[in-house]
Amino acid sequence: MKDKERGIRYVAPSLIVLTLVTVYPVLYVFYLSLHRKLLIFNISKFIALDNYLFLIRDERFWNALRNTAYFTGLSVALELLLGLGIAVLLNRSFRLKGASRAIVLIPWAIPTVVSARMWEMMFNTDFGVINYLLGVKINWLGSPFWAIHAAIFVDVWKTTPFVVILLTAGLQVIPRELYSAARIDGAGSWQMFRSVTLPLLLPVILVVLLFRTLDAFRVFDAVYVLTGGGPANSTETVSIYAYKVLFQTLQFGYGSALSLVVFFCTGSIGIFYIRLMTGRRT
């Protein structure tokens, strides 16, 4: 039996600030996106859906959307694979397990901006340690092909620990008996992984995918600091494009339209995953 009293009064403050700082702005963004608004020159004019009509024909937007999708797909897939590998590795018992786990957390704890700067230096063509160790002279951040992959690599490095943590927790709740039973049935380690670990881990994997896909899709700081969207916009994501339009030239109308696209895309992704999860449960 719950206390009938006052529940709502405890929840209200949080709800109010959340609404003020997130829901209200999103409505406001929509309002802005219906205007030609050049903050600098005090131009503000209602133009209905003109910004969206321009957006549909804007090659740079489609390019940014393609980059974002590619970035998201590849980095989430790699993070999951790598995270799964490391989680399985760390799930065995060995000495220094605690210390190893703490070390794995390091990339997660480093500020994204710092990690982007760090890798920028290491990717340097001329004096970067990566080219030195590999004995090559690749222009990592300068060629469109390498730059997007370098950005993906930095994101994978930064966020794999998060995946490892969640998956490790998932691994720990799998009953040991299932493994012994499988072993008695003569299953090899790969078979055990496929028939025991993977199916039982699936709910956690879905949660990981949800978090990571949403995060990757709205990626901003890592890429903004690493490449600024270049070369030739080959690493420009929708968030970066929107930010540049918004704050380099203060075109708040079109910039708002662009940022709403990010909102709707992440919203759809979220709903898609949540449906997938609830669908599985019932």
């Binding site: 406001y28 390091i106 990339p107 500020p111 901006v113």
Partner: protein, 270 residues
């Protein structure tokens, strides 16, 4: 035996992969400027503290660190305060549409910051809060609320209802139960959340970049916008990176278990 060796070799690779870049940053930060642009040698022959001194002397990093500490500290306190009250309500009191409310709060964590940054900018400007720490504390608090509420609600639910009812019968008002019983009981969970919120706020970039320009600048923005006319002061950047990262790394090494608990709370159970 071979298998064991293989395992440790693999483990070593993973550790190097995770910690190597930071170690490299450390090595770079004590090289002379002239040595940074030349490889080999990998490690400096005569290490220098010059970049560290310069970061504080020429780039007023002490100020940025103080700003970051104030923002992250206030955010942590406010977020925990607001969030724990809300979680208490959700977990122990009757709230109409409680699960819907929780779902709404969680869905806010999926809001892309970029979709709110332009109106927030206009609001903050209108309130005259541009380039103040208050603007950052406000946004960081709100964007960390979902995490706080989620972790704490889950934890409060594990505290038996009997404790709550016993206290009520003893004449405590609900708020007293929250303040005198629930919070002290939940200190471990509160602490875990505090670390996560602190790290989130310490690292946040988009809002800090947009809402501040000089006096309220935080460390990540300062590192992203290191001044130099045409050149990159790589030694200073490396030193600054080490300085801002070390406290966080220390937190992680000390409270690894707590952080893992916090991050996994809900994700696995829920």
């Amino acid at each position: 035996m071979m298998k064991r060796a293989g395992f440790y070799a693999l483990l070593a690779v993973v550790m190097l992969y995770c910690a190597g870049p930071l170690a490299w940053q450390l090595i770079t930060s004590i090289k002379l400027s002239g040595e940074i642009a030349v490889l080999p040698p990998l490690v400096s022959t005569n290490p220098t503290a010059a970049h560290y001194l310069s970061v504080f002397h020429d780039y007023s990093f002490a100020r940025y660190i103080l700003n970051s500490l104030i923002v992250a500290g206030s955010t942590t306190i406010l977020s925990l305060l607001l969030g724990s009250i809300c979680s208490f309500g959700l977990a122990k009191l009757r709230v109409p549409f409680a699960s819907l409310v929780l779902a709404f709060i969680l869905s806010v964590s999926m809001f892309p910051p970029i979709a709110t940054v332009s109106p927030l900018y206009i609001i903050i400007r209108t309130l005259g809060l541009r380039d103040t720490l208050a603007a950052l504390v406000m946004t960081h608090t709100v964007f960390s609320l979902p995490l706080t509420v989620w972790v704490l609600t889950n934890f409060f639910r594990t505290v038996p209802d009997d404790i709550y009812h016993a206290a009520r019968i003893d004449g405590c008002r609900p708020f007293q139960v929250y303040w005198k019983i629930m919070l002290p009981l939940s200190l471990p969970a509160v602490f875990t959340t505090a670390i996560l919120v602190f790290i989130f706020s310490w690292n946040e970039f988009l809002f800090a970049l947009t809402f501040t320009s000089a006096s309220a600048r935080t460390v990540p923005v300062a590192i992203a916008l290191f001044p130099g006319i045409h050149e990159m002061p790589w030694g200073e950047i490396a030193a600054a990176s080490v300085i801002v990262t070390l406290p966080i790394i220390l937190l992680v090494l000390l409270f690894q278990r707590k952080i893992v608990e916090g991050l996994t709370s809900g994700a696995v159970k829920g």
